[in-house]
Amino acid sequence: MLSYVVRRCLFALFVLVGVSILTFLLTRVAPSDPAARWVGPRATAEQITQARAELGLDKPLPVQYMLYVSSLLQGNWGISIRTHRPVALDLQQYLPPTVELIVFSMFFAVPLGVFLGVVSAARSGTPVDHGARLLALAGVGLPGFWLAMILQIVFFKWIGLFPLSGRVAITTSVERLTGFLLIDSAIARNLPALGDALWHLVLPAATLAAYPVGNLARMTRNTMLEVLGEDFIRVARAIGAPEARVYFKHALRNVLGTLLTSTTLIFVYSLVGSFVVESVFNWPGFGSYAALSIMVIDYPAIMGITTVVAVSYVVLNLINDLAMAVVDPRIRLS
């Protein structure tokens, strides 16, 4: 296993270098003037020229890239053209809220999606199956921004049950330690803030969970139906195994590999794909940061975002593959 991990890490390095070069080139050839963005609106020509020199934008592209890589290796991710803050600081600021939101939503989405899929497969062809499939279709088909706004109108404006937006109430403050509000408020033993943070998570997490619930339900149902036709399932039933054990132990185990992969991909995609949900719920997260950075071609931030996402894909896929080897003894790491 160790050699497999080492090989994958080495391969990942090539991937990261390739991604960084490609992203650097794309951001630099896209029509924009980062120097003008840097100095602010209504800048004069002299200010823009001065900024261009300050930012090193007057140097040849290969030199700029090498300077960037050199800084990166020393832990300097550059300064965001848009926020004027170190990119590392921005990533530290905006990544935890999104990770917290995704983890919270997946915590409910995965078991709910799997359960729906199992029930749907077990009751295949019945109204229960049709209903579950309709729910799953709604989950993957409904636009996230629409769902977000509907939840706000129903649960905030009409019923007044959940907060409209944000991570906590406007006047609530929690000392920032990790950036994960649930953890920070727990460490500070600030139970009101912890409760407030949990309550604020509900609507955005529900919105974000819709797609994984639908996706996992459909995938679980389809894979389960294949597995349920296998001989070992017939044997299990023949020897009198309870139906619940047949579905949730014998059959589901064979679906886990597919579910793991799907969950991993959904998680990493959501890092940036959550920007619609973050925008509607005013959630200051990584997705919004990425969207804004791309819109203004904030190239240092885009490089940082791409690096984080690429590393996430690599690391999580590696963990996924290792986990699959544990879950499915037929798999050999090679």
């Binding site: 007044g160 907060p163 203004v296």
Partner: protein, 501 residues
């Protein structure tokens, strides 16, 4: 009434105001560099020598109790208040004012150019400071500018110190905390020179709320006290809510359509004049702006000095347009123009669409391209004028209340393309506005006449056209009192003057 079912939080006796803003309130931390949205909180943390009252046009005392101007307009003397303290604990004096202004000017960032006329700043005594100018200039307007004129503690000039969330202002509020660039909280500065008698807010929170629907719901439910820039279509609905008050006021923002004067057929002034007659101004105001604005009369917007009824105004007249096109050699139209605007701006898009429909009547095809701002601007600065757009549409506004800010940047000859996006060059015009600018400090009436003459040159040559002057429409908590709309301090609420009924 919305009932919030949430875990009970500690009840605070403090009065906290919340401003929900459509963009990041924090762009720059350093008061010398400020040029953007940070104006909304910096104008509560920092102060300047003078304050411009929009309604009366008077320059009112702020950190300077009074000022004197020499007859030749070259020497301005400010007499400072003696009881002002910076948030850092140091006292404000003439040396601090001198070092503040020169620090901003010499750094050359943000709105440093508003001090271009300043040759030297001298300390006369502890609370008297004199500015000597290279040429007569309206220094009072510079001293009252929304940005670039802040008096800060010059002993604190470290960028990193500011970026860590510190401030060195004299204003009623000081920075208490911030969260990234999206939230900043100010707390009252107990030693503020105006004192805290009467009703005032103890804290002010500035919060980014990008989504307009969310901002609307927040102001309706009382979660925010004030918000800016809601779509016109939302305003009508919101105005029916008893908990919300809509505030309309003039702005110094207008929509400009530049014509590419270097590319046929727009290199012909006759064609440009013809196009000026094809914009359905009334429909644009009604449909695109929801009625919140008026047709421009020259590039200097309504309410700014230098705006005048003596400036020519185009009307919507297809007959006149057709006649001009015929005179230019296009009796049947038959050409295509590319118009670019900033993608995502519904007002610009609808304006372009209405214009397109009108031009179609003359057999002129208008291709409309929405582009991200960076690409939009970059395209207009391409090296080959024939490959650039034909019409460039964007908004212009100035934080510096001087018509020169409009006429110089957008229409004076440029060596390197920046904001003159009609690529216009007219030495007579250039000379006129620069002479007027230097005259302003000595004889404003004569300067105004020259600015009007310059604008009429633009209306004849039509390198670009101001289509409409916008009205700003904002929504606030109906219980919030004390807010005075002042387009010079765009989007700024002076929270010290406000309280809830």
């Amino acid at each position: 009434m919305v009932m919030m079912v949430a875990p009970a939080l500690a009840v605070s006796a403090e009065e906290v105001a919340v401003y929900g803003y459509n963009s990041d309130p924090i762009v720059f931390w350093d008061p010398r560099d400020a040029a953007s949205d940070e104006t909304i909180w910096m104008n509560n943390v920092y102060e300047r020598l003078l304050h411009l009252n929009f309604e009366t046009g008077d320059l009112e005392p702020e950190l300077a109790m009074r000022y004197e101007v020499s007859d030749d307009g070259l020497v301005w003397t400010f007499y400072l208040r003696q009881d002002v303290q910076f948030h850092t604990g140091n006292a404000m004096d003439a040396a601090a004012v001198r070092d503040s202004i020169l620090g901003t000017k010499n750094r050359g960032k943000g709105l440093a150019y508003i001090w271009d006329a300043v040759k030297s700043v001298d300390v006369i005594d502890g609370h008297t400071v004199t500015f000597r100018l290279e040429y007569p200039a309206p220094l009072g307007l510079s001293a009252a500018s929304a940005l670039g004129a802040f008096i800060y503690d010059p002993k604190y000039v470290d960028e990193a110190w500011y970026s860590a969330g510190n401030d060195s202002g004299t204003g009623p509020y000081a920075v208490k905390s911030h969260d990234g660039t999206e939230r900043i909280e100010l707390a009252k500065f107990t030693k503020y020179w105006r004192g805290w008698d009467g009703q005032h807010f103890d804290k002010v929170v500035f919060l980014k709320v990008a989504d307009a629907t969310t901002r609307r719901l927040m102001v309706e439910s009382g979660q925010i006290d004030f918000t800016n820039q809601l779509p016109p279509q939302m305003i009508a609905d919101l105005g029916r809510s008893s908990s919300v008050e809509i505030v309309k006021g003039p702005s110094f923002q207008n929509l400009i359509a530049f014509f590419n004067t270097k590319k046929p057929p727009l290199d012909d002034p006759l064609v440009r004049r013809a196009l000026a007659y094809t914009i359905p101004y009334a429909d644009v105001i009604t449909s695109a702006l929801g009625g919140f604005g008026q047709q421009s009369r020259g590039p200097v917007p309504y309410g700014m000095w230098g705006h005048s009824d003596r400036i020519k105004q185009y009307t919507f007249s297809m007959e006149t347009a057709r006649a001009l096109l015929t005179a230019a050699g296009y009796p049947d139209g038959g050409f295509k123009l590319v118009l670019t605007y900033t993608a995502g701006d519904d007002i610009e898009e609808l304006t372009a669409q209405l214009w397109k429909s009108a031009l179609a009547q003359l057999n002129v095809e208008l291709e409309i391209r929405g582009m991200p701002w960076e690409s939009h601007w970059d395209y207009a600065k391409g090296t080959d004028p024939l490959k650039r757009q034909d019409i460039f549409m964007f908004y212009w506004w100035s934080s510096y209340p001087n018509p020169y800010g409009y006429l110089h940047y957008m229409f004076e000859t440029e060596q390197e393309i920046t904001w003159n996006l009609g690529y216009y060059s007219n030495p007579v015009y250039d000379s006129l506005i620069n002479t007027a600018n230097r005259l302003t400090g000595r004889n404003q009436d004569e300067a105004i006449d020259m600015f009007i003459e310059a604008q009429n040159i633009l209306m004849e040559d039509v390198p670009g056209l101001a289509v409409f002057d916008m009205q700003y429409v904002r929504a606030k908590n109906a219980d919030l009192t004390g807010y005075v709309d002042n387009p010079i301090y765009t989007n700024v609420v002076f929270w010290y003057d406000c309280h809830r009924k």
